[in-house]
Symmetry: C6
Subunit: 74 residues, 6 copies
Amino acid sequence: MSDRLTSLITKTPQEGFELAITLAQMGVEYTQPSESIRKKLRPKYARNADSLIMASHVIAVHYQTVAAANNYWK
Amino acid sequence: MSDRLTSLITKTPQEGFELAITLAQMGVEYTQPSESIRKKLRPKYARNADSLIMASHVIAVHYQTVAAANNYWK
Amino acid sequence: MSDRLTSLITKTPQEGFELAITLAQMGVEYTQPSESIRKKLRPKYARNADSLIMASHVIAVHYQTVAAANNYWK
Amino acid sequence: MSDRLTSLITKTPQEGFELAITLAQMGVEYTQPSESIRKKLRPKYARNADSLIMASHVIAVHYQTVAAANNYWK
Amino acid sequence: MSDRLTSLITKTPQEGFELAITLAQMGVEYTQPSESIRKKLRPKYARNADSLIMASHVIAVHYQTVAAANNYWK
Amino acid sequence: MSDRLTSLITKTPQEGFELAITLAQMGVEYTQPSESIRKKLRPKYARNADSLIMASHVIAVHYQTVAAANNYWK
């Protein structure tokens, strides 16, 4: 993971959103480094509406950060 | 989804709110790309008050971002 | 709902708070457009302390937005 | 409740914190206007650690708003 | 509690973090003023991972406030 | 823990993310100081998707703080 995050600057709001997703995933990966365990958990939470909303929430928090870093792509 | 998000600028606070909803949905869609699975989940969480409040929360976080991007439509 | 939100500017902090409540409700209404379903859910969550705290949380997030839009009514 | 909130400005960080608590309570009161129902709920959630942490969270969000309004009492 | 919070300014990021913890605790104490009840709740939530993460979340929100008040100790 | 946090400034967005993780862990450690209890809790929550998302959320909040402190590494 160590070379994934070199800048918060992105060309478009869309790319910024994808970076926010990456940041949300990084938070999970640092907390549970085992890829095999994470893969086991995925089918369950990806079919649970509340888990999906919670994941969307984390993305939203990171998107605030990325959008501010990019001065909202104005 | 890739061409959905080209700008955070909207004409009105109302359109900004609708963009916040889109962003919240995008977070769910990236986490669960299968439309058929999402459609199955919908009837359940849309009748669960806590899930609705959680969804409204994610929209609120994105609305902060969109409102700031638009300098609060002042 | 489309003509409800024309401005984030309010005269007083109190009116701003009421706007934050409206925004929190709009998030729920967009997610569950059926008024009859929402009315069925209401008696239950309005008697559940955790649901009330969650609803208060969403209002708090929107109030941050509205207060910033109004430069904190200073 | 209508005349409770006339300003976000407070003399001290302590008074600001108390205002944040008031704002968190207002969010609950608008969602459940019945004082008798709220009083019934109180003994239960006030003895539930997670509910207390959630309530503290809402206060924290409002305190961000109040602190910013007061330029952090600097 | 009334004389605990006289300033958000701290010498170091570490002291600011400790202030954020105090603020999170104050939110709980105002909601449940009885020290004996809080002490009874503590053993349980302090051994529940989700409760600990929720407590850490509240501290994080207050730390944003304290860090901004101190201009990030730059 | 007392000498861990001397500055919020980091060289890169990646190091900032690692600092955000440290801050999230500090919040847990202050709330539950016993390392042995925390170690017992870890296997369970690290295999629970919702707990991982919640942990990622706390990291996201701290990352907002760290990123702002570093002016987004621009």
